[in-house]
């Protein structure tokens, strides 16, 4: 901490305050339309602050699409949507080269696909074929598109919010592990309770829907990500985070019995990165300037549940990855 000036400290304090303020503004704006789902909204916003993609899982009609469009409006971001179907082609996602006439000359021109946006809603992502799903791989990780040898960067910020229906399995293609790993969080969208349903009906049953205003900009979202990286983490807490990831692997000596029995592959290093970033966000939101063990624990299920690959026994016995993660957390101090 040598060489620091009061300006540096004040700037950091201001950045932290801005982070919280921006976060709360967006949350408040989204809450105008999205009733309940507080945890889902918070996790989605944390993922966005961390520049991460989110996979939303829930039955139809829970407001997944509404959440995405609302977020787009609140953050003043360009929104795109792709309804994934089995006949969807990769070119329909990323775009394709077309023959166009320019000044009397016919030239090949790149027709941008719907991924060229800030906030992409990949609705029912598991209905597309693996080939089409894999078209999203580069866009999600590299945030760029390569067509006919040309690589075109996507606009920043860029987020993918995928949705999938956990009930219907006919005509679906489970996402490959590589693609699942690229999602920062996987969130379960719960069914609203009675009072929340009543509020939903009151808000959406009238002639006018609540108006959602833009309360943040893309730059502010990117700045949030920059702020996060500066939040310190104590070595012991970080050690626990690492142990958490390691103990999700059946090969680890200290892994709980459930992991050894039901898990084929544990969480990847991306899970550790995601947990650290998300924990930092939670620390700032809690008014702290450091990451606590509780922060890491709170984000562990969302960051790890889609990264654990169950074994045959696990699948056969219908084991939930959240239970396994709870077992892993129980082994730590």
């Amino acid at each position: 901490m040598t060489g620091l000036t009061t300006d540096d400290v004040r700037a950091a304090e201001s950045a932290a305050a801005d982070f919280v303020a921006t976060f709360e503004r967006i949350r408040a704006e989204v809450a105008k339309l999205i009733v309940g789902q507080r945890e889902v909204v918070e996790h989605v916003l944390i993922a966005i602050a961390c520049q991460g993609h989110v996979l939303l899982e829930g039955v139809p009609g829970l407001g997944k699409t509404t959440l995405v469009t609302t977020l787009g409006k609140a953050m003043h971001l360009d929104c795109g949507r792709i309804q994934f179907t089995p006949d969807l082609l990769p070119a329909d996602v990323v775009g394709s080269m077309i023959l166009a006439e320019r000044s009397g000359e016919k030239v090949l021109e790149f027709q941008r696909g719907p991924v060229f946006t800030n906030l992409l809603l990949a609705d029912e992502i598991n209905r597309a074929t693996p080939k089409t799903q894999s078209a999203l791989l580069e866009t999600m990780q590299e945030r760029s598109v390569t067509v006919a040898g040309r690589t075109m960067p996507l606009d920043r910020p860029f987020f993918v919010l995928g949705t999938q229906n956990p009930i219907e399995s006919d005509g679906t293609y489970p996402l490959p592990e590589a693609q699942l790993d690229r999602f920062f969080f996987k969130l379960h969208v719960p069914m609203p309770d009675e009072s929340e349903l009543e509020t939903i009906l009151q808000r959406t049953g009238g002639v006018e829907l609540p108006e959602v205003s833009a309360v943040a900009t893309g730059e502010e979202i990117l700045a949030m990500g920059e702020t996060l990286r500066r939040v310190p983490i104590e070595s012991g807490v970080q050690r626990n985070l690492i142990r958490m990831v390691r103990r999700s692997h059946p090969s680890d000596a200290d892994a709980p019995e459930s992991v050894k029995k039901f898990v084929r592959h544990g969480a990847s290093p991306r899970a550790a990165q995601a947990m650290l970033a998300a924990a930092r966000a939670r620390a700032l939101l809690a008014g702290r300037y450091h990451v606590s063990g509780a922060d890491v624990r709170s984000v562990a299920p969302a960051a790890m549940r889609h990264r654990l690959i169950l074994s045959f026994e696990g699948e056969a016995e219908g084991v939930r990855t959240d239970d396994i993660i709870a077992d892993v957390l129980a082994t730590l101090d």
Binding site: M1, T2, L4, T5, T6, D7, D8, V9, A11, A12, E13, A16, R230, V231, P232, I233, E234, S235, G236, V237, A286, R288, Y289, H290, V291, S292, G293, A294, D295
Partner: protein
């Protein structure tokens, strides 16, 4: 232009956090030290109490070394536990975080302070932690030892120490004393046995010494060990007795003795040889050897005493014949019993080897065995027989011939041979006598060892108690009055017909008898014991009834008892 950050507030903030952590660490360490000390007291006390209890149950006094060992072990374990469980700064910070819900704030602050990492956010974090740490007081949070632990730490050592004052049981004291007594007794007995062996050796003549093998006897005595254990002593004395028995057995010459007994029987029939025969029958071999001297002819013969020599030869011939007859009868008897009769000549090498081998297996001491002891005597009888025949022939030729000097010389040679044969026979008899005496001495030693075993078992006095010789007796009483167990006072005046007597007259159906007063007193004791037995409350009634009935039957006599049985049978 950036202004340098104010270091003063930060230093104070950091200082306050560090002071809080240091204070907490100190208090936590003190609390743990107290807990470990109490735990060590309780566990050490429990261990000492259990160990002491075990000693007391065994009847022994609790040894001080037990307390020392428990104390040292407890202190060492407590010290090790204290070193292992000592709380550091990080653990103290974690304790504060957990106790005050600071979400790892102080731990992170400490970490950032030590690593100088975190940048501006680190500075913010330290300030945040310092603000949160203000006014925190860890003292009320310090863990306090439970009442159970405190009680255990006080009561268990107290109990253990109090056990140390308990006396050892009478059985253990008695056992220890018995051990010491046995040890002293073993020394006394070993010394006594050694002296007895030395006495035996000293009292033995040369021939006996040749049989006794004194050095080996001394080795046996030297091999005796002192011991406080009765069983060990009994074992070693029994082993030595067994060894002596084996030696005595090896000295036996049953064949030779049987031959001599038969010879004695045969010789008893003759007038001249009757005395010698009795001696042989009674196994008085030394006397028999002397008696045999009478049958020895003179070594020289002249024309004048030829008749006298012939008489001597005749007498020797009769003796020899009876001896030879006895030998033949024994051979015949043994042949009839299935044992092949063996002449002296064919009983040589192979059997000697056999006996040597058998003996060498038994500590390699003696040089002959029972079965072969008779052979030299048989040979001597044969030799005597031959010598007498030749002598008789020589004397007859001399008498019938001209009795020239040449014939006389030859007769003299035969006389010498006959004398020599008698001498050899005497030697063999003396040897038998020596074996007999050696056997007797060994038997005496065996008897001493048997007495030693009896002494060790507490059944008799030491065989070496008192002097070796009889003491000086006195008719003068040392005590004018003697108190008896039954309370009666005896005052023996020594005047016939006056004063109390040691004798009592008891009347019975078959007549009157005399018993000593000691016997009468013993009977009174028995009676009292039976009475007290049948009155004991813990003895079952059926058993009491049985004892009572038994005594009644004794008093009634067999006839009455028979009638009682009959009555019982009719019931």
């Amino acid at each position: 232009m950036k202004t340098p950050m104010k270091t003063e507030p930060n230093a104070r903030e950091v200082g306050s956090v560090e002071a809080l952590i240091a204070r907490t660490k100190h208090q936590l360490n003190r609390a743990r030290a107290v807990r470990i000390a109490l735990l060590a007291c309780a566990v050490g006390g429990a261990a000492a109490a259990i160990g002491g209890g075990a000693f007391l149950l065994a009847g022994a006094r609790v040894p001080v070394v037990l307390y020392v060992v428990v104390l040292v072990c407890s202190a060492a374990i407590a010290w090790a536990a204290w070193v292992i469980e000592r709380v550091g700064d990080r653990a103290a910070a974690q304790f504060l975080d957990k106790s005050f819900g600071l979400d790892d704030g102080l731990t992170t602050s400490l970490d950032l302070h030590h690593t100088h990492a975190g940048g501006a956010f680190g500075a913010l974090q330290v300030a945040w932690a310092a603000r949160r740490a203000e006014g925190l007081e860890p003292t009320p949070l310090m863990p306090k030892p439970g009442r159970l632990l405190i009680a255990g730490a006080i009561l268990l050592p107290t109990l253990a120490v109090s056990l140390g004052f308990a006396p050892e049981s009478a059985a253990v004291v008695a056992e220890r004393e018995r051990f010491a007594r046995t040890l002293v007794l073993s020394a006394e007995l070993n010394k006594g046995i050694g002296e007895a062996i030395e006495d035996t050796i000293a009292s033995a003549d040369e021939e006996e010494l040749a049989e006794l093998e004194p050095n080996e006897l001394r080795e046996l005595a030297d091999a005796l060990e002192m011991s406080g254990e009765q069983a060990d002593l009994l074992r070693q004395y029994a082993e030595m007795e067994h060894e002596l028995a084996a030696r005595a057995e090896a000295l036996q010459a049953p064949r030779a003795e049987e031959l001599m007994a038969r010879a004695g029987e045969a010789l008893s029939e003759g007038d001249e040889t009757a005395r010698l025969g009795r001696m042989l029958e009674e196994k008085r071999f030394d006397e028999a050897a002397k008696e045999l001297e009478k049958f020895k002819p003179a070594p020289e013969v002249t024309a004048e005493d030829l008749a006298r020599r012939r008489e001597e030869a005749e007498r020797l011939k009769k003796l020899t014949k009876r001896l030879a007859d006895a030998r033949r009868r024994m051979d015949a008897a043994q042949s009839a019993a299935g044992k092949p009769s063996r002449s002296a000549s064919d009983r040589s090498a192979n059997t000697d080897d056999a006996q040597t081998g058998r003996l060498s297996s038994r500590k390699g001491g003696t040089t002959s065995t029972n079965d072969d002891q008779g052979r030299p005597i048989e040979g001597e009888i044969r030799e005597m027989e031959e010598a007498v025949e030749e002598l008789e022939r020589a004397l007859a030729e001399c008498e019938h011939g001209a009795c020239e000097q040449g014939e006389l010389n030859e007769a003299s040679d035969k006389l010498k041979r006959a004398r020599s044969a008698v001498n050899s026979m005497q030697g063999e008899l003396r040897k038998l006598g020596a074996k007999q005496r050696a056997r007797s001495k060994l038997s005496k030693l065996r008897s001493t060892l048997a007495q030693c075993q009896s002494t060790v078992a507490g059944q008799s006095q030491s065989p070496f108690a008192g002097g070796r010789e009889a003491g000086q007796g006195s008719a003068k009483s040392q005590n004018a009055e003697v108190n008896r167990d039954d309370g009666r006072q005896l005052d023996l005046q020594g005047i016939q017909g006056q004063g109390p007597s040691e004798l009592e007259v008891e009347e019975a159906d078959s007549g009157s008898g005399v018993t000593t007063r000691g016997e009468a007193a013993r009977n009174v004791d028995y009676q009292r014991q039976f009475e007290s037995f049948v009155e004991r409350p813990d003895v079952p009634d059926a058993l009491k009834e049985g004892v009572r009935e038994y005594l009644e039957r004794i008093h009634r006599g067999p006839a009455d008892a028979g009638s009682t049985d009959e009555e019982d049978g009719t019931r």
